[in-house]
């Protein structure tokens, strides 16, 4: 056997980990420079986009997409330079706002409270066809689809351009909100050569845990990375998800091989296209593997059962992250363990799927969730919380 070089960090997508966060001195200069200048007010989801771009979560994006990137991403799932990218990241503006900007201008981006968030270096200002975008990105133009509805409600013009982040605050969950540079450092410190990323939006139940453990059997480390953000009524509150995963890692996973950080980001419900985005994001965090279950990031019946897994066929190697594809998991009363249709030969009559509705109904009534669906210790911790769900 012969020894040659090995690099242990997976490169970020596009080979550059973007950092568009201004230093304190440059941020102060920018604030002075932008005082009194034209500004755009962003909603909470757009602020998340800006921060994720600047912190490298969406590498190699360095700003909102210009027209050439936008068109190719929509139609071919690639940036203008050919790099695979599945979801458009754009800033919509009104005709009036568009008329106040020119390519090359610096525009202040502020949040709904008037707090200065970032500088936008205006690139292309262009129009779009929402139905065209919807058909390519979401596979439907049905306005009942939340992603399609979002595009239909957007303002009429898009503005692209580089972003420089001024406000790098990470509240309210500073302590569990790591940047890709930080997770990469963390993985390196722990000596993990292979890391499985796990996407979630819920508190952990047995089926989640099964997938997480399976992934960890194949890799050196497990990176649980729940998306935190805009919720609908009945969803678990962000704080509850964070507490539940803290509890899970503190009490059940080996601390040296599992870690956790949130991802404040918008959900597009774009099914297969979103699965690709989620994989790219986890690659940027330093993950070498990513768990994709059936119907990943889907909504309703818009996507085929295996669409989110099949989309990786032919592009997985190019993206550069290994996709761990799993079937739906459930507790089998006969096997007396969590399994999938791949590993359990029994019928539906003895399989207990992790019903989100059932979990929600029981917890809302202050009742314990059966132990074959969720760990009693997690249930007990949840029932101690003052409030679990978004109202």
């Amino acid at each position: 056997m012969i020894k040659v070089m090995e690099h242990i960090l997976i490169p970020p997508h596009g080979n550059t980990l973007v950092n568009r966060v201004l230093s304190e001195a440059h941020a102060a200069e920018a604030k002075t420079r932008l005082a009194g200048k034209f500004s755009l007010t962003l909603d909470d989801e757009q602020v998340k986009d800006v921060k994720n771009i600047a912190r490298g979560v969406l590498s190699p994006l360095t700003g909102f997409m210009n027209e050439s990137d936008f068109v190719r991403v929509v139609e071919e799932m690639r940036l203008a330079d050919g790099t695979i990218w599945s979801i458009p990241f754009v800033l919509d503006v009104s005709e009036e706002d568009a008329s106040n900007m020119n390519t090359g201008d610096e525009v202040a981006l502020q949040d709904a409270t008037g707090n200065l968030i970032a500088v936008l270096h205006v690139g292309d200002i262009y129009g779009y066809d929402a139905a065209h975008v919807a058909r390519f990105v979401y596979g439907t133009d049905d306005s009942a689809h939340p992603g399609v509805a979002h595009w239909q409600a957007m303002k009429s013009r898009l503005v692209g351009g580089l972003i420089d982040l001024i406000d790098n605050t990470k509240e309210p969950y500073y302590e569990v909100n790591l940047d890709p540079a930080e997770t990469r450092y963390l993985f390196k410190e722990r000596g993990w050569k292979t890391v499985a990323g796990f996407q979630t939006r819920n508190v952990p139940h047995r089926a989640h845990e099964y997938l997480q453990r399976c992934a960890l059997e194949l890799t050196d480390g497990l990176f649980i990375n729940p998306i935190i953000g805009k919720k609908k009524t009945g969803d678990f509150q962000d704080e509850v998800i964070i507490k539940a995963y803290h509890f899970m890692i503190e009490n059940f996973f080996p601390r040296e091989s599992a870690t956790f950080s949130i991802l404040p980001a918008r959900m597009n419900y774009a099914g297969p296209r979103e699965a690709v985005l989620h994989a790219i994001i986890r690659k940027n965090f330093g993950c070498t593997h990513f768990v994709v279950g059936r119907d990943h990031a889907g909504v309703g019946d818009y996507y085929g059962t295996y669409a989110a897994q099949k989309i990786f066929e032919g592009i997985e190697d190019e993206i550069g992250i290994k996709i761990l594809k799993f079937e739906h998991s459930f507790m089998c009363k006969t096997c007396e363990t969590v399994a999938t249709s791949k590993t359990c030969g029994h019928g539906d009559d003895v399989r207990v799927p992790p019903s989100g509705t059932k979990i929600r109904d029981l917890l809302s009534a202050g009742q314990p969730v059966p132990a074959d669906i969720m760990r009693p210790q997690i249930v007990e911790m949840l029932l101690q919380q003052k409030s679990l769900f978004v109202e």
Binding site: M1, I2, K3, V4, M5, E6, H7, I8, L9, I10, P11, P12, N15, T16, L17, N19, E175, L178, D179, P180, A181, E182, R184, Y185, L186, K188, E189, R190, T259
Partner: protein
């Protein structure tokens, strides 16, 4: 960015050695060249981000000792 030696098979080494010989470089140089972009990118993580700050923050949050 950490580089660690890795064991490869004789067969792969022979192939790499043939390629390296054709190009007039050593096998290590060839591998470096093949990984060039990746190595540069991985190194860039710490060129563009303040490693000491990252370490301090992760320490203060209890992620690393």
């Amino acid at each position: 960015m950490t580089n660690k030696p890795v064991q490869i098979s004789e067969d792969l080494f022979i192939k790499l050695d043939q390629m390296a010989t054709q190009r007039g470089v050593t096998v290590d140089q060839l591998v470096q060249e093949m990984l060039g972009d990746s190595l540069k990118a991985a190194g860039a993580v710490y060129q563009d981000h303040d490693e000491a700050k990252i370490k301090e923050r992760l320490k203060s949050l209890g992620y690393i000792d």
